[in-house]
Symmetry: C2
Subunit: 322 residues, 2 copies
């Protein structure tokens, strides 16, 4: 139910990724209604532009009939080369103003245009280049929560392609992607490491915390290059009976997250003790926070979904609201 | 053609792996005839024991009709739980005598039994357990070539599951597996890292040596845990146009081999400057030798296939030859 007693909505914000579409009706920076659809950009009802228009119409028609002048903003893979309209990457350093200045417009088919945010590119000589798309909006939302984070902080977004993002003077100055989640999925499904794991894991079974911590400890004690050896333990700990087969996925998960954290912390805290902020999937953020604590880094802040706040900030920076 | 003018053969030696079967007719430690079949243990003409007997008969019947008393030895996956008969792992430290003492016999169906070598297990508390099967025979063969290697050396067997093996007093005392080859195949085929690589790479095209070296250099400069980040460059170096798409596989290969070498060298040369020996696939060994040289380790020895010599050593240790 929409609660619009305080007045009409001021923004329709879309978080549009690969596998899902989330729509937020907002007023004064706050969510007054939320809708969800499975029409991620790889799961559209039709191919091409018509598919985007149809997916948008299905989620937003009645809202726009009621408030036809509502500004609409979007972030995520909807702005990729495979999206509704490509919003090319902007270079670091970047903040909401940079993103707004490089957003692109596409006709929604329902009246208002949709303003689509660009992704961000990190590309400096002698360093590994990197890209993000969607996370930059979550970051803009996170930075609204505490002014001192904007001065200097490290924001971590765990996931299939985890991001470690360095913030200085309110801007994304550099970042690094870790393929942690994808490595876990690919190794479990397609490599010898998944062979001993039960085919039908009991999803409701408690994870084996000791096996997960063994993975973390192995990562903590690793030297450069040790990764391709340490993952083989996912098999040999099972072969030798040191871990039950049902716990091998927990070991692998701990090892992968551990490697990401060891490397991410080393780069993030190179300069000084900067605030560490986790945002994204809540269960995964909790797992990361526990792992950080295990590795001696108990001080981090876990945020709820910051994408709506970031989209609000983008719309404000773009001058879409009076 | 068999050259048996110097006398009849003394041994039929089988190198029987997952994808192929190689048979060597030997005398006085030397090969006098070689045969090859595609009947690896996962490609038998029939399932089960009958399949092994048939594959053996197809490659060896005329030899055994001529020399019915010929002793037969075998190594590799033929001794695994999925093999002809399981030869359970023996623990480190292990040499040819240990292997001979724990070999198992299976009737060949053609007269003589087949003596199958066990694999080797490294299993010490607080260290990652490890297993090998087949490489222990290649190692026995390598150690015959130079007596001082037996005193102390490190033998590297590059491949899908590379092995770094520490030798002391003629025995395998410890070893570590690196999933280098499997990681390359799985990441290229099943992860986002393969997306930009050409679908039909021109196999005859020269590899991009500069891209390969960029991968090596990235691995050389890595800190603990950096691997899941550095592999993402396989995508971003293509996205940003820093590398042509056809060179991305070379970068990934250099990165993976580099990680293995950085870690392997750190553990192998912890004590002192021990001899480093490469054995296995000739092209891959050359690639490893060049990479070692790039990483400042030019002194290594590359050996041809040492499995036949190792099988000879096993048969001698088992007392199969007069």
């Amino acid at each position: 139910m929409i609660s619009t007693r305080a007045g009409p909505p001021e923004l329709l914000a879309l978080d549009w990724g690969t596998t899902s579409l989330r729509a937020f009706l907002m007023r004064d920076g706050k969510i007054i209604d939320t809708r969800h659809s499975s029409h991620g950009i790889q799961h559209l009802p039709e191919p091409g532009t018509a598919g985007f228009e149809l997916a948008f119409a299905q989620i937003a028609t009645d809202w726009l009939q009621k408030w036809p002048q509502l500004p609409v903003v979007a972030s995520g893979m909807v702005g990729s080369a495979q999206g509704w309209r490509e919003a090319p990457y902007v270079r670091c350093p970047a903040n909401a103003q940079t993103l707004a200045a490089h957003s692109v417009c596409v006709p929604s088919g329902l009246g208002p245009d949709v303003l689509i945010a660009p992704g961000v590119l990190f590309d400096q000589a002698d360093q590994i280049p990197d890209v993000m798309r969607g996370e930059e909006i979550q970051i803009a939302g996170a930075l609204l929560q505490k002014p001192q984070w904007a001065a200097r902080s490290c924001i971590v977004l765990p996931g299939t392609h985890s991001k470690w993002v360095q913030i200085e003077s309110g801007k994304i100055v550099s970042f690094a992607t870790y393929l942690t989640g994808e490595l876990f999925a690919v190794l479990r499904k397609h490599s010898i490491l998944g062979r001993l794991m039960p085919v039908s894991p009991e999803d409701k079974a408690e994870p084996d915390a000791a096996a997960f911590e063994l993975g973390l400890a192995t990562a903590r004690d690793s030297g450069p290059g040790d990764f391709p050896h340490q993952i083989f333990a996912t098999r040999t700990l099972g072969l030798t009976g040191r871990l039950p087969h049902a716990s091998l996925a927990d070991y692998l998960s701990g090892l992968l997250i551990g490697h990401e954290l060891v490397s991410g912390l080393a780069h993030a805290t190179k300069q000084d003790d900067i605030p560490l902020i986790l945002t994204g999937d809540a269960a995964l953020c909790r797992r990361y926070a526990l792992s950080l604590s295990y590795l001696g880094q108990p001080d981090c802040t876990v945020l709820e979904n910051t994408a709506p706040a970031g989209l609000w900030d983008l719309a404000r920076a773009a001058g879409l609201m009076s």
